[in-house]
Symmetry: C2
Amino acid sequence: MRITDMHITPIAVGDPPLLNAAGLHAPYALRIIVELVADDGTYGLGEVPGSSGTLASLEASREIVVGKDPFQLNAIRQGIDKRFGKEEIAARGEAHLAFGRVSQVHSAVEVACYDLMGKATGRPVVDLLGGRVRDRVDFSAYLFYKYEGAGGALGFGTDPNATGWAAARQKAALDPAGVVAEAQAMCDAFGFKSIKLKGGAFPPDEEADAILAMYEHFGPGTPLRLDPNAIWSVETSVRIGERLKGILEYYEDPCRGQAEMGEVGRRTGIPMATNMCTTSFDHIPGSVQHHSEDIILSDHHFWGGLRSTLELSRICQVFGRGLSMHSNSHVGISLAAMTHLAGAIPNLTYACDTHYPWQSDEVIVGGKLQFEDGSLAVSNEPGLGVELDRDALAKLHQQYIDCGLTDRNDAIEMQKVQPGWEFQPLRW
Amino acid sequence: MRITDMHITPIAVGDPPLLNAAGLHAPYALRIIVELVADDGTYGLGEVPGSSGTLASLEASREIVVGKDPFQLNAIRQGIDKRFGKEEIAARGEAHLAFGRVSQVHSAVEVACYDLMGKATGRPVVDLLGGRVRDRVDFSAYLFYKYEGAGGALGFGTDPNATGWAAARQKAALDPAGVVAEAQAMCDAFGFKSIKLKGGAFPPDEEADAILAMYEHFGPGTPLRLDPNAIWSVETSVRIGERLKGILEYYEDPCRGQAEMGEVGRRTGIPMATNMCTTSFDHIPGSVQHHSEDIILSDHHFWGGLRSTLELSRICQVFGRGLSMHSNSHVGISLAAMTHLAGAIPNLTYACDTHYPWQSDEVIVGGKLQFEDGSLAVSNEPGLGVELDRDALAKLHQQYIDCGLTDRNDAIEMQKVQPGWEFQPLRW
C-alpha cells in the first residue's frame, strides 16, 4: 500500500466574535485539510490549525509522505523530523519552516494514515489504537465571553431568522448573566455536563463572579473550569483561586510558567490544568520537577499525533497526572480523530474541550457530527468514519481565499473594536 | 474476529549449567507457550517465563481472553487487571494469584493478539507497532560463567560428538581465559559484535579481570558489559567501576537500589544500565529522582507487552535514558516478538541481550531462528512470522512433565554442586 498523492487545502470556517486573552476571534477560523490518496483507491483525512507556516510546512512534507506506506508511521515521522531539522532547513535556506511545525505536520499526516489504515483493515481508528475503553466520549460546554454576532458570512452581524442554539450563539455574553445564559443555551442544545469558561478577557473578579453565577445556576453537580490563558500573576491566581476553591473542577492556566503554576496549585489546593506550560514531551521533566499541573490538556495536533498522545497518557499515569483534551476552532475531521483517540485512552476521565458548537461550516459528508447528551459515539466505521464533502471543501477553500486571512491574529481583530489594544502577557 | 480458544502449554527446554548471582541454571529452563485460536481459523502465539504462579495466572485469565476480539487490547488489559485485582482475588480466595503476574500474563496474551492481528491484516507485527526503523536487529553475545556440560537431555553431561558452537557450549568457563574462549566461540558462531558477561558468580576482581581479558582480546571496537546482578556493595561497585572505566559500554546492575545505582553512576562516570532497579512504570518517578540509570534494559515480558514497551521508549526519550533489551532463557516466539518490537523503536540503539544461543530446543517450524552477522532480520511475514511445530511443542511439554521442575530455583541447583550454598543479596 502506497500513498500516491497528498492534497493540502486551507479553509476558512465562520467563527463568532469570541474574546480571549489574546484579543478577539476573527470572523473566520483557519484550518488545513490534508487528504492522502492511496494506491488502493482509498483516501485518508487529517486536519490541523491553519497558518501560513503550517501550510508551507505541509507542502514541504509532501516529498516525504508521497510514496510511503501509511503503516510506516515511524519512517514518515523520521522523514518529517529530518526534513525540518536544522541541517536540512539551513541547507535549503528555508528559515520560514520552523521545526516547531513538526508536531502539527506530523499530526495531520498521521491521522490521515490512520484513516487509510482503518479503511485498509476494515477497522475503526480506535481499534488501531488498542481498542475502545468507552463507547461514547464526553465533551464539555466551552463558553466564551463574546460580542454580539455570528461571524462567517454574516461578518459580525446576526441572522434575525436563526433559532435555537444558532440564535443563542449570536448573542453577546459580557457579564455573569450573559455567561450563564450562554451556558444554559449550549447545554440545552448539546447536553454538555461540564462547563469551561475561557477567561482572561475581563478583570479577574468579574470572571470569578461569572463562575460563581454558574455555580449558583447549575449547582454543584456541574463541573466548572476557568481558563484565563496565563495572563494573571501568581498572586492574582491565588487570590481568585481562594474565591473559587471547592467550586472549580480544575483551574486552567491562570498564570504563566511551570514553577508559577505549581506554586498556585500548592497554595490554593485546587487541581491545576494546562495546555500552556506543559505542551510537549520536552516539558515533562520540568512538569515533574515543579508539579506544574494535575491535569494535562492534551491535543493531538500539538503533541505530534495519536500515538504520541497515547504515550503521553502513560506518562500521565506514571506521574499521577489526569488527562483531558484541549481544543481550537475545528471541523469534523479533528473531532472524529479526537473521539477515536479519547475512546482508546483509559485514563482520559474528564470531558474533553471542543470549540465545535461555535462553528457552523463543515467539510464532512452529512454535515456536522451530532452530540447526544453531551457526548459523541466512537464510530465503528472503518477509519475515522467521516467522508469528505468535496463541494463543501471547495466552498470553504474559496471562503479562505476571499476572506484574505492567512494567519490567526486575535490582537488585530481586537484593535478593530478597541483601537490601540495590545496583548499583555501579564495583565492582571 | 473473536478468540475462540486459549491453549497454555508449559515446556522445558535444555539449559546448560550457567552460573549467576542466584546460583546455577537447572538442566531445563521453563517457558509457557500461549496459543490463541481465532474464529477465522488462524492462531496467534505468545511466550513467557515458566513458573507455577504464571501458569495458574494464565489459566485464570482464560475467561477474560476467550471471546474477545484480539484488536481490543485495552479491554483485554482492563479485564486482566480486574481479574487479578485485590478485590477479585480476595472474593475468589485466590491468594496464589499475585497481581505481580499481571504484566507477564498480559505480555503473553498481547503478543499472541498482535500475531493474530498481523495475520488478519496481512501485516508483520512491526507494522502494527508503527513500522520498521531498521531491517535487522542487533543482538549481543550473552556470556556466562559455566560448569562443563550441556543440560537438557544430556543432564550436565557433554556430547563428545558435538562440533562448533554445540561443542564450545559444553565447555567450562570459570576464569578469564575460559570467558574469552567462550566469547570468541559465540562471536564466531553468531557474529555478535557486543559482549555481555553475567557476573555475580566470582569475586568482583576476578570478573573485572575477565572483562579486561576480553578487552585485550577483542580490542576497543567491541562493546563490553558486566552484570553482577546487584550483589555488590556501592563501594565495591565504585572500586571495580574505576578499574573498568573507559572499558565498559555500560555497567549493568552492579548494586541494588535506585539511589545506590545513581551513586555509582555519579562517582564512576560509567553509563549505568538496569533491569533490576527500574523494572516497571511504578519505578519511573524514583528513577527520575535518583537518576538511577542511563540505560533501561526493557523486557516486554515484564513491562506488560509490546505497547507498554513503546510507551517506555518515549519515557526514555523524555528523560534522556538509552534503551536496550534484557533476556531470559527463551525460544523463538519471544525472540520473534523481541525482534519486531526492537524493529519499531527508534531509540533502541544498543544490541539486545538474548540467551537464545544457549538453548537448543525449539517450538517453531523450521527450528531455531538464525543470526547473521550478530543480527536477525525483522520478518515481513504476517504476524510474528513464526509457526508452531506441534510435535516439538508436545515433546517439550513432555520434557516439562518428565523433568519435574515447576519453578526456577537456581539456589537449589547450586546446592547440588556446593552443599550449603545460599544466595546473598549483598555478597561482595
